[in-house]
């Protein structure tokens, strides 16, 4: 008998608790009560960052482009990124559109890090145009320097086999699945081995900047292909 009394009492309590909670939730929904103080600030999203680049004259001085070229570059840049800066996702998006068959996001990530020289998580027009200036108008030494910077993921001055393997895998990812001949799993690794055999003169397992530049300057193919894109803009 007692059990039945307790059961009903318990259920009564439960019922009342449910009622109270439901009414509190309703009031919260209606906005009359705020449980935590920072719930209001959820409304204010971080408004889009707006960035205005330096003037044309400063950019002309910093880079090797002339006025007209800078104008064309900026128009294209701003068209695609109206806010004036590119963050990593947009960057990956844009770069992936050029390689529809494969997955360009890993390589785009490395590229992004190479362009984002001040490491603030976004590429502004200055970063963009300074990177392009090195790539398109720089001396061979500077271009090789840039490439070394790209491969050296942790920027410690040495390219290790692991870093090179990451880069290589990223490049092969851009090819996608449908290739001829079929991509095998250790193709990137083999390619890395070839690379290291060529570049690592003292066989210490890492490639330093001097070994890299030295070796590239002695390789005719590489020298020639460095000039390939000189007339892109």
């Amino acid at each position: 008998m007692l059990n039945m009394v307790w059961e009903t009492e318990g259920l009564q309590t439960v019922g009342i608790v449910v009622l109270v909670c439901a009414s509190l939730k309703l009031l919260h929904l209606l906005g009359l009560i705020n449980f935590s103080e920072d719930s209001v600030e959820d409304e204010l999203e971080l408004s889009a960052v707006r960035h205005r680049p330096e003037g044309l004259e400063q950019l002309e001085a910093l880079t090797r482009f002339n006025r007209k070229e800078l104008q064309i570059l900026y128009r294209g840049f701003k068209n695609e990124c109206p806010s004036g800066v590119v963050n990593e996702d947009t960057f990956k998006d844009i770069y992936s559109q050029f390689f529809p068959q494969g997955d360009a996001s890993t390589y785009a990530h490395f590229l992004f890090n190479a362009f984002d020289t001040d490491k603030d998580g976004s590429v502004s027009f200055e970063d963009f145009v300074m990177g392009l200036s090195i790539l398109l108008r720089g001396s061979v030494q500077e271009k090789l320097n840039w490439a070394f910077n790209l491969y050296d993921i942790n920027k410690d001055g040495y390219i290790t086999k692991e870093e090179m393997l990451d880069i290589m895998k990223a490049i092969y990812d851009m090819m996608g699945k449908c290739t001829y001949p079929l991509l095998k799993d250790d193709t990137p690794r083999q390619h890395v081995e070839i690379f290291f055999q060529k570049m690592d003169k003292n066989k210490d397992g890492v490639v330093t900047i001097d070994e890299f530049i030295d070796c590239c300057q002695n390789d005719e193919n590489i020298m020639r292909s460095m000039q390939l894109f000189d007339n892109v803009i």
């Binding site: 294209g76 068209n79 392009l132 590489i222």
Partner: protein
């Protein structure tokens, strides 16, 4: 490639410098911009409104009117602008397409005028962006349905030379075709009504004699009712048999809903005839009489609204299912809670959970009979929550059903949902084709591109101009970029089929293949290579030779071109193109790998540059084309 990011192509190409130190092979030559002129503003005068844009913007889409040389036809020499005598408002959307890469549909425009403008400017409507595509398709569908409606009204003209059977069927389906059909229609309708009425009146108590029990009319005037019933059933039977005779596909007719209703309507009478002598099954006999009420469904042939209602319920099956499911869940939950809440109270009607179901249903549908009422406080609390939630749960799916009904009613019950699904599939297929088209464009132009690169190295200016420049500069630069990537990684882009087949090849190669099974291999891989040959319109004379298996373990052949393009002999540049065209394929029997390639030795320079489209005459080609096949 999305032309919206055309501005970033220079960046992508510059970034390709990052691949250079890694590549082991020389890179292909970059396409040069032959007539590089500074970008200039173009003025487009559309019915007096001037639009100005850069020439490069328009050049992004070279297969449209504005992007090609077709616009020169509209050039006005005096005012130095391009004049179009078209609608300026729609032109805004067209020009924005060039600027942003996305085509929008302005909702205030008429669909036909928009379509006309798009076809004038050479833009296909399928590329309308997702934001506007639904609206566009809806308007288009409405338009087409309106056109179809106008057509249908003309279709009712009587076709000559119809057999008697066909005329009868048409008369049954469409009562307005002839007077006989109309008469038949009304007669059957009348008898259905009579039959339903007699069923109803049969059960009314009438005429009580003072000392006996009340009798129903059916029992009092048995003979009369029996005669009426017989007459109705006779008419229905005759009608059913006539329909069965006239139906074009009897089997399908017998399976249709209406015929089942007909059968169910008349069957109880016959069963009753057979069973009148047996008193034991009179109970079952009474049950059968219930089915006579199905005769009322026969009215649905006469009423369009009923048919629409039935169709609506069928098409809202998912909403109804959701309603049912959520109601069941709620009923079970609340019934359980009410049972335990009311367990304590004395003389509670909530004797079991199933017994509480009745209370829950009555409360949730806000009927509230009052035959079961909670007495405890907990029970009352939960009971009120139950009724509140009942209102919500039932009110939610109902508007969907209502809007569905009204839509179908207004559109006169066309089967547009089914058609919309087909269109959606077709649209997705078209988008997929255009996307693969971009990657296929590269594969296509690669074969032509090698050819053009070869030309560029040694040929004269005239031959260069012969090259039909159907690729825009943008495309050629993009393809050059992809080509560089291929050279860096030592692998080529291939299309899906070749990938699948070479994948299967790899799987098959792991088992030592006996020669009988080789024939199956040949058949499978043969398609890949012949596909190549077909695509280049150059089926080689001995392409019927069976084996053309692909090899991918041969270390020496880095790049085996499977193309059958005949290329000019270029001794000096051979190494740069890295084509081992004069190296015969190896036979590698012991390891079981099958190595072949369809290699063509270049023909003498007498052949014209356009020979990639026309194969040289088979005679001389036979000597020069080395088809090495290995078994």
């Amino acid at each position: 490639m999305a032309s919206g990011v055309a501005a970033w192509l220079p960046f992508a190409r510059a970034a390709a410098i990052g691949w250079m130190p890694v590549a082991n092979m020389p890179m292909p030559i970059a396409p040069t911009e032959k007539n590089k002129r500074a970008d200039e503003l173009i003025v487009l005068n559309v019915s007096g409104r001037r639009f100005e844009t850069w020439r490069n913007t328009l050049d992004r889409y070279p297969d449209t009117l504005l992007g090609s040389s077709e616009k020169e036809f509209f050039y006005n020499e005096e005012t130095k602008e391009y004049f179009f005598d078209r609608d300026a408002d729609v032109f805004r959307a067209v020009l924005n397409f060039y600027r942003t890469g996305k085509l929008h549909y302005p909702r205030s425009e008429c669909i036909t005028s928009y379509d006309e403008e798009l076809s004038f400017f050479g833009i296909i409507p399928e590329i309308i962006g997702d934001c506007c595509y639904e609206e566009y398709k809806d308007r288009r569908r409405e338009n087409q349905e309106r056109l179809m409606d106008d057509d249908e009204d003309k279709k009712d003209a009587k076709l000559p030379n119809m057999t008697f059977r066909e005329t009868m069927w048409r008369a049954f389906e469409n009562p307005h075709t002839s007077t006989m059909a109309l008469v038949f229609y009304y007669v059957t309708g009348f008898f259905i009504a009579i039959s339903v009425l007699t069923n109803v009146v049969e059960t009314v108590p009438c005429g009580a004699t003072p000392n006996t029990k009340e009798v129903t009319c059916g029992d009092r005037y048995t003979v009369a009712f029996f005669c009426m019933d017989t007459a109705c059933v006779l008419i229905f039977t005759v009608e059913y048999l006539m329909r069965l005779f006239a139906a074009p596909s009897r089997y399908r007719f017998m399976r249709s809903v209406m015929s089942i209703i007909d059968v169910v309507a008349i069957l109880p009478y016959y069963i009753g005839l057979v069973m009148t002598d047996n008193e034991d099954v009179s109970g079952a006999f009474v049950t059968l009489r219930v089915f006579r009420v199905f005769r009322i469904f026969k009215f649905s042939r006469h009423s369009q609204g009923l048919r629409i209602l039935g169709y609506t319920l069928k098409s809202c099956a998912s909403e109804l299912g959701f309603l049912l499911f959520s109601l069941t869940m709620a009923i079970i939950i609340f019934a359980t809670v009410m049972f335990y809440a009311e367990k304590g109270s004395t003389s509670s009607k909530f004797t079991s959970i199933p017994a509480s179901f009745w209370y829950t249903i009555v409360t949730m549908t806000t009927l509230g009979y009052g035959d079961m009422v909670p007495k405890t406080i907990a029970g009352k609390i939960f009971g009120s929550i139950c009724s509140l939630s009942g209102v919500l749960v039932i009110a939610l799916p109902v508007p969907v059903i209502v809007s569905n009904f009204s839509r179908i009613y207004h559109q006169n019950q066309r089967a547009d949902k089914r058609r919309a699904q087909k269109m959606q599939k077709a649209r997705l297929a078209r988008i997929r084709i255009s996307k693969t088209g971009s990657s296929n464009a590269f594969l296509h132009s690669k074969r032509n591109g090698l050819f053009s690169e070869a030309l560029e190295l040694t040929s004269s200016i005239e031959e260069e101009q012969h090259l039909s420049k159907n690729q825009s500069l943008l495309e050629s630069q993009h393809h050059h970029l992809l080509h560089c990537l291929e050279k860096t990684t030592n692998h080529e882009f291939a299309d899906e089929l070749c990938y699948e087949q070479s994948y299967l090849e790899g799987a098959l190669q792991s088992y030592p293949s006996q020669s009988p099974s080789l024939s199956s291999q040949e058949g499978m891989t043969g398609t890949c290579c012949t596909r190549h040959t077909k695509r280049n319109h150059a089926p080689l004379p001995n392409s019927s030779i069976p084996t053309c298996a692909l090899s991918h373990t041969h270390p020496h052949h880095n790049l085996q071109e499977l193309s059958t393009i005949h290329i000019q002999p270029l001794n000096t540049s051979r190494s740069s193109l890295n084509m081992r065209v004069d190296e015969p394929a190896r036979l590698n029997c012991q390891s079981g790998t099958i190595t072949t390639a369809i290699i063509s030795i270049p023909t003498p320079p007498a052949t014209t540059p356009e020979s990639d489209a026309h194969p040289p005459p088979p005679g001389p080609a036979l000597q020069n084309v080395v088809k090495v096949s290995a078994l």
